[in-house]
Amino acid sequence: MSDATTPSTPSLMSRLIDTGAHQKLLAFASLILLLIGFSVASPNFMQMSNMIAILQATSVNGVLAVAATLVIITGGIDLSVGTLMTFCAVIAGVVLTYAGMPLIFGVIAAIGAGAFCGLCSGAFVAKMKIPPFIATLGMMLILKGLSLVISGTRPIYFNDTPGFDLISRGSLIGKVIPGLQIPNGVLILFLVAITASYVLNRTVLGRYTFALGSNEESVRLSGVNTDRWKMAIYALAGGICGIAGLLIASRLNSAQPALGLGYELEAIAAVVIGGTSLSGGRGSIMGTLIGALIMAVLINGLRVLSVAQEWQTVVTGAIIILAVYADMVRRKSA
């Protein structure tokens, strides 16, 4: 997971690397500070089972945030990540529980459905020139409705698919290292993050993702088929939402068709805390991962300290504003 780069002059590139590294260091330091603070405040915070609970709580939001990061770097926004996740979970439920097919088909169907819906959003944005906010807002509602229609407005349970709950709840790491029962959901989050980071920083698709966010017009004028690359990145983000759908369905052992609204904002919050710019062209998956962890640690820590729920929400909101403000101040002075 390396830094944000753009295909641009070396001086600009090196500057971006510097700010990127600095930003991540700050975010990481904040995370460590939060961990230390909560550990000092409550003896119950720093224990293995609670750390695993935090990671488990991060897994779904983290994967969604990775998907949101990709789209945001292109200068777009994806409001449909939450309901797309639900839609993919419902598709998995239809394939596995209603049709009774083997596990692997459910996995393929969920990720495939996610990629297809992402491709549709991408086409709305790139081909039909609908602003990303509107296109994905429409998609968010379409998918929320379709999830309810397809599921018959009932949760679909996965009791007939042995092994489905292990996708998120099982622990491969725990089998290799007994005592370290890190759930597979967390492992999958890290795999998704590493893959997305590789795509962003080491492939043509990644280079164009940053370039689209920095200056789409100049990329297009230099003869690149920007529409195609944009659709590809939305499709990739959609496929990642499909993985999130599998994770949440596995964790709940059910596809909950009414769930999903509001999750897009938490994903976007993790992205901006991680230092990705909402105006596009700048950002990193590593930052997003840390952003998602900061949110999960904060909420869990406040709960373990028994802070009243209304104040938990206030603190979370304040943290988002402070994080982005600090980032702005630092970048202006840099």
Binding site: G37, A53, L252, Q256, A258, N300, L305, S306, V307, V315
Partner: protein, 315 residues
């Protein structure tokens, strides 16, 4: 220069200072309640009952619930955080029973008694369930509706959802009672408004447009009932019998003014109180009943100010 580290540091330090005393009070009994919701007045009334029991029995409680009743995974995270605190016992109102099973098993292994409240948990781990008999309560609503419309005609139901236990029980309790005892009453439709006032308002207007000869509507929770009242008012109908569920300031006003014929009220304060009481008993190894029926009442303009009724209504 301000940077994120100092800001975050200052903020977390402030939080820690503000809450440190609570976290060291581990010697008193501690019972977290994980609810289905938090900001609705109904849940605040449950919390008030739990607070009352906490004071009476000298235990410490916390009360948390997700922002929306669809956020099943958020509720699971709350349960996990509550278990990390190694509580004396836990009160739990499951949004989805299956999703919570692994954590409930963990609670059992840790020897932490679990008391279910409000809608129950489909599992044998909770030692007791403190809730309203929603089927019987909705059947009472059906009886009252039948009486008020004269035993015949068309009625409709605006329900809060079709997946939760309370949604299903209230709908079916009403429908089954009508079907079994009132052959001349036809339930023309059951619509679902997610307990959202605005959605329920729109639904009600659509039902009234589709059925100009409708005589009555049953709203199955606070938001649904207010929505029905709004919809009927916006359509300028005056002859629709409305029966609601739960209370809240708006619903109480509607009952007082006669817009709403009456409503079923649960005893949310009692639910909170009995949950904490049962949790304490269970943690001391005492036997607790498997079901604690916390009761329900029908109220209308004539008895809304009776002390027994007023005590279970909330604003």
């Amino acid at each position: 220069m301000l940077n994120r580290r100092t800001l975050l540091g200052a903020l977390s330090a402030a939080t820690l200072l503000a809450t440190a005393p609570a976290s060291f009070a581990q010697e008193t009994l501690y019972v977290p309640l994980i609810s289905k919701g938090f900001q609705h007045q109904f849940w605040q009334a449950v919390k008030a009952g739990a607070d009352q029991a906490a004071e009476e029995f000298g235990v410490r409680i916390t009360f948390e619930g997700p922002d929306s009743e669809t956020m099943v995974d958020r509720q699971i995270d709350m349960l996990a955080a509550a278990l990390a605190k190694k509580p004396t016992a836990i009160g739990f109102a499951a949004l989805d029973s299956q999703a919570a099973i692994p954590l409930l098993r963990q609670a059992k292994e840790m020897g932490i008694p679990v008391i279910a409240f409000d809608s129950g948990v489909d599992s044998d781990i909770p030692l007791s369930t403190a809730s309203t008999d929603n089927v019987a309560a909705a059947a009472l609503a059906a009886d009252k509706m039948a009486g008020l419309i004269g035993g015949s005609g068309k009625v409709a139901v605006v329900a809060h959802d079709q997946t939760s236990r309370t949604g299903i029980d209230r709908r079916d309790g009403f429908l089954d009672q009508i079907a079994a005892n009132y052959p001349n009453i036809e339930v023309v439709t059951v619509q679902y408004g997610a307990g959202d006032q605005l959605q329920s308002t729109e639904l009600t207007k659509a039902i009234l447009i589709a059925n100009p000869d409708l005589k009555g509507i049953f709203g199955t929770n606070e938001g649904s009932a207010i929505g029905v009242v709004n919809g009927v008012r916006e359509m300028a109908k005056t002859d629709i019998i409305i029966i609601g569920y739960d209370s809240g300031a708006a619903q109480k006003d509607a009952v007082r003014s006669g817009l709403m014929a009456g409503a079923i009220t649960q005893n949310p304060v009692g639910i909170g109180y009995e949950t904490v009481k049962a949790a304490i008993s269970a943690s001391k190894g005492m036997a607790v009943p498997a079901m604690i029926d916390t009761g329900f009442y029908y109220y209308d303009a004539t008895n809304i100010d009776d002390p027994a009724i007023a005590a279970v209504l909330y604003d």
